[in-house]
């Protein structure tokens, strides 16, 4: 992910450091926040498939099947959302949003959630949005891997809606805050 960022921003190597620091910061703060404020009853622990009484081979292929079935369906939802957005939102909206620094950051953060791009590819997508500030593009790179439509769908599906509805907005706000902080210091 950091290598991809370095390749995508050849003229701004500080972007790699900024992405690393901001992402680590947000992940740690989110963990501390959950430790202090989180309640176990918000989280519906996923029903683990039992592998008892199965041989090694059976347990292995059972896990493969289980994981493909879970992740695959949610992946399709994310792909459909991203494709819809790409076809529906006109490009002129982006130019208007880039003019205002605050709107630019919020717009790219929301875009990261809606587009749900893989974290190894997102740097190439956002590096082409040169009309946006580096901090706004950093927000895109920090928010995207932490919370987007497909991740929200997976969290809701795995831990229950009550957990996802609390966790996702907190992650979103913290990721924006973290990237603005790191952006003002490093970029």
């Amino acid at each position: 992910m950091l290598t991809a960022t370095a390749v995508a921003f050849p003229r701004n190597p500080e972007m790699v450091l900024a992405r690393f620091v901001a992402s680590l910061l947000v992940a740690c703060v989110m963990g501390w926040l959950w430790q202090r404020l989180g309640r176990a009853d918000w989280m519906r622990p996923p029903a683990r498939p039992s592998h008892e009484g199965l041989g090694k081979g059976a347990a292995f292929w059972d896990s493969v099947r289980h994981d493909v079935m879970h992740a695959g369906g949610f992946l399709v939802i994310g792909a459909m959302a991203a494709a819809t957005l790409k076809a529906v939102v006109p490009a002129t909206w982006l130019h208007a949003a880039a003019a205002n620094p605050v709107v630019a950051i919020l717009a790219l953060a929301v875009l990261a959630v809606l587009l749900s791009i893989c974290s190894e590819a997102d740097a190439f997508v956002v590096s082409s949005l040169t009309q946006f500030s580096l901090t706004a593009r950093l927000a895109f790179l920090v928010v995207g891997p932490m919370i987007d439509l497909k991740l929200f769908a997976m969290q809701a599906g795995t831990f229950g809606r009550g957990f996802a509805l609390r966790f996702a907005p907190a992650t979103f706000a913290l990721a924006i805050l973290g990237s603005v902080l790191v952006g003002t210091v490093l970029l």
């Binding site: 029903a47 059976a58 292929w61 695959g72």
Partner: protein
């Protein structure tokens, strides 16, 4: 979604990935360098389908239906069989 349906979905997805990887079709979706991974993923998916059917048959023979609960996968997995325009 029961085990047989899951095996069918795994096989169909695996066959589609293999088909895309063995023709030039895959270039519409991923870069050329990812071809080996794509082919490997297709093979693994088909192996998973075969293994699911295999263990399902053997499991039924041994345990009968004294197996209390049947673990079903979520319905969202059915989205995997949606057609895509090639």
């Amino acid at each position: 979604m029961n085990r047989q349906a899951q095996a069918a979905v795994l096989f169909l997805v695996g066959a589609a990935v293999l088909h895309a990887g063995l023709t030039d079709l895959y270039l519409r979706y991923v870069k050329a360098g990812l071809r080996p991974l794509l082919l490997a993923a297709g093979v693994v998916l088909i192996m998973a389908a075969v293994a699911t059917v295999w263990y399902e048959r053997r499991g039924r023979g041994e345990a009968g239906d004294g197996h209390g609960h049947v673990h079903r996968e979520p319905r969202v997995a059915w989205l995997l069989v949606l057609p895509s325009s090639p």
